[in-house]
Assembly symmetry: C2
Homo-oligomer: 447 residues x 2
């Protein structure tokens, strides 16, 4: 057991709240700060993408005994429902029984804060942290950035304050701090499919609904109340873009043309479209994540990724799993806990950032590429025949807790194999012939 410390967690989001539970159950005093009001007392913002909880997320929740409480608000999705322009097709995510879980961000966040409070963590809302003194783990809090500040000293501070973290902001101003933020030219907007009058879902609730259209796409994930949270991803500028849709008529015509089967189920389309903000998508990387035994960044605060692999929250929760493992191994040597934590997590955070960005590229540029579709078809065919020899990348990321770096490396190896296979003569016609199967088996031996 560790010596009890006085710990501040900055950020009451999903990662901050779960971290607070872990720290509290490890015997520490835990204060959680947030600049926003208590999310349990306000309407959520209308700029959310529903969460897809998968293996890594569940592992972190179960590790501290709160998985079942969260399962009550989760809806399993065992397949994609792919809404093509003129047809609908389904695609299972994994093997029988494997699902990802749709959870509304607001609902989960409220639940997590409740759970953390029950565990004994104290929450302080509408407290704006403007700066931190790294060497003494002292928070500087005040109404405005230029006004009076009050100091709060802790034994250590966790920055769980998201992609635009103030804690990281201070660390960035040190020498030798590596940092990058890169925005996509794609934004997103929340839309809404309400429940039927009887409370049932208008679309299959156990599917992740996706309307892939190359550069832009629509997705919909189910909520407990029968509604769906939809997200439209689209370039900011250009032919089919947020900038090009300037009035109700244009929005309605665009949806009628491109997402025709969605029109009937999104009654307040134009209203939602112009009321809800258009949000940005950023990949943020940095290093180091910690400062001596005083400060540690966690979750989006040190590795914000684009949402196209559904792994943002899962990766943040896995940070906590790894941090806790280090706490168990290194006990009161917090400097070692922190350095082993960042050493273990940094390459994995980079790997899932890369995988998430590649998924964006795949969706926006490759969905219409015949070679790419043929590759996916061959992979699926081979994997079904040899499930032990070819675990699809998606399954490694989503249904296992093997490191992301391993998933990325094996994915690259699989891609290299498929490149060779696609170079086989007449591959379009012989793709499911024994010679292709043998070729793959042989190339797998070269691993």
């Amino acid at each position: 057991m560790q010596t009890s410390k006085k710990i501040a967690v900055v950020g009451s989001g999903l990662v901050g709240s779960l971290l607070a539970i872990y720290l509290k159950k490890s015997g520490h005093t835990v204060h959680v700060y947030d600049r926003s009001p208590d999310i349990r007392k306000i309407q959520f913002s209308g700029r959310s993408i529903n969460l897809a909880m998968s293996n890594r997320g569940w592992k972190a929740l179960d590790g501290v005994g709160v998985g079942d409480a969260v399962r009550e608000i989760a809806i399993p999705m065992d397949k994609r429902a792919i809404h093509l322009v003129d047809s609908l097709k389904f695609q299972n995510y994994g093997q029988e029984g494997e699902s990802i879980y749709s959870i509304s961000r607001g609902t989960l966040n409220r639940k997590m804060i409740d759970l953390a409070e029950s565990a004994g963590a104290e929450f302080f809302f509408e407290q704006k942290i403007w700066d931190v003194t790294l060497a003494s783990a002292t928070l500087h809090i005040g109404e405005t950035e230029r006004g009076e500040w009050e100091d709060r000293k802790y034994d250590m501070v966790f920055g769980a304050d998201g992609a635009f973290s103030r804690i990281r902001h201070r660390m960035q101003r040190q020498s030798m701090f590596n940092y990058s933020q890169e925005f996509l030219n794609i934004g997103y907007k929340e839309l809404h499919i309400p429940a039927n009058a009887d409370g049932s879902h208008k679309l299959d609730k156990n599917s992740f609904h996706i309307w892939p259209r190359g550069e832009y796409m629509l997705i919909a994930l189910s909520n407990l109340d029968g509604s769906f949270t939809c997200t439209l991803f689209m370039p900011f500028e250009g032919e089919n873009s947020f900038a090009s849709l300037t009035d109700r008529k244009e929005v309605e015509a665009f949806f009628e043309k491109n997402f025709s089967d969605s029109v009937d189920v999104i009654p307040n389309l134009a209203e939602d479209f112009f009321r809800n903000p258009t949000s940005t998508l950023v990949t943020m990387k940095c290093f180091p994540w910690t400062y001596t035994d005083k400060i540690a960044l966690i979750g989006d605060a040190c590795h914000a990724i684009v949402p196209f692999y559904g792994q943002g929250m899962n990766a943040g929760f896995e940070d906590i799993t790894v941090l806790y493992e280090m706490m168990l191994v290194y006990g009161d040597d917090w400097e070692k806990v922190f350095s082993e934590y960042e050493k273990s997590r940094k390459p994995n955070a980079d790997a899932i950032a890369e995988l998430s960005y590649r998924n964006f590229l795949e969706m926006s540029t490759k969905t219409a590429d015949d070679k790419f579709l043929l590759q996916k078809k061959i992979e699926k065919w081979f994997s079904d025949k040899h499930p032990d020899k070819w675990v699809p990348l998606y399954s490694r990321v989503t249904f296992s807790d093997r490191p992301y770096v391993e998933a990325l490396a094996i994915g690259d190896f699989q891609n290299a194999i498929m490149e060779e296979v696609l170079r086989m003569e007449n591959i379009e016609n012989i793709w499911n012939f024994p010679e292709v199967e043998n070729k793959i088996l042989e190339l797998l031996q070269s691993q």
Copy 2:
């Protein structure tokens, strides 16, 4: 002629001062701010790397009529003097008459401020700019970051305040601002070779002296007063590192062993070593560089690069050349001036950043690589035979004003050719045979 504007330039370094001259001569009111004291009144810092002025730098200076004033304080270097462990060899930089020019940073900066003042720019030293309001081009100045600030409103503000720019710092906090900073694990330290008693140089003054040793190296560039400014580049940590040299004896033994012919000419080696700071090396990229017609970043403030191509100042000066071209074309449409400036310069800044980083990799990892040395030998041999067909990359970057992107692209093409050449059977022995020459000629046709 443009309508006269009231312009603030933040930063009185090389780029800020030269920009002030251009702006003043274009009819504007120019105020230059610097947080430091007037460099003309203080001892320079002991953390400098001497400058190597080349074509792009001279072009910018000559473009506003101050080249000759700077030539008076410049020493031509037409060759590298390569101090191997047991021998010294010379290598010309370019064709007959082509040189780069050694200039002390402090001397040049003082001269540039004098020239800018003569042109009518006003300088305000020890004025700390903490923030800027982008939309109104208002500077916020005060003694301390948290204390009272005074506002100074301008028509536009240029951020020429270097790699850690406060102006950029504000721009970074906008949405959709792409940014990265990446530190090398190599630092540098200034050392000093004094003049002989008669004022003459202890080493050949018309050479760029370099002691390449793979992971670490020493360089020396001549000053007007007979001295040389030396720079030691070395990893922060590890076997041969700044961390490993902790006392006089270790430093002296290290130099005796690795830079033996330098020991006699650096009398205060250990003293300098422990007095002078160890500085960091960073590559910084960002975009956008401008904000409407109000704010523009320039030089290191928007593209800090590592010094291994000797192009940092030259690239910053070339920013000014391009900005001025846009001023001539677009006149009072400053929004257009700014947008065309950043559009033109950004890819070139990325290209020279890449080239500079590659030169670091070459020096630290490839100098002992036989394949690499063979490649250089073949390139040299072919280029001497066909100077019109093979301009070495270094010459394109240093002795031309063709865009850096072009140099990078042609350099990559040359590398691809050399990769094929190096795959030729028995290339070690036939490297200067006609078949190699013909192979290169044939591959060049494929361009």
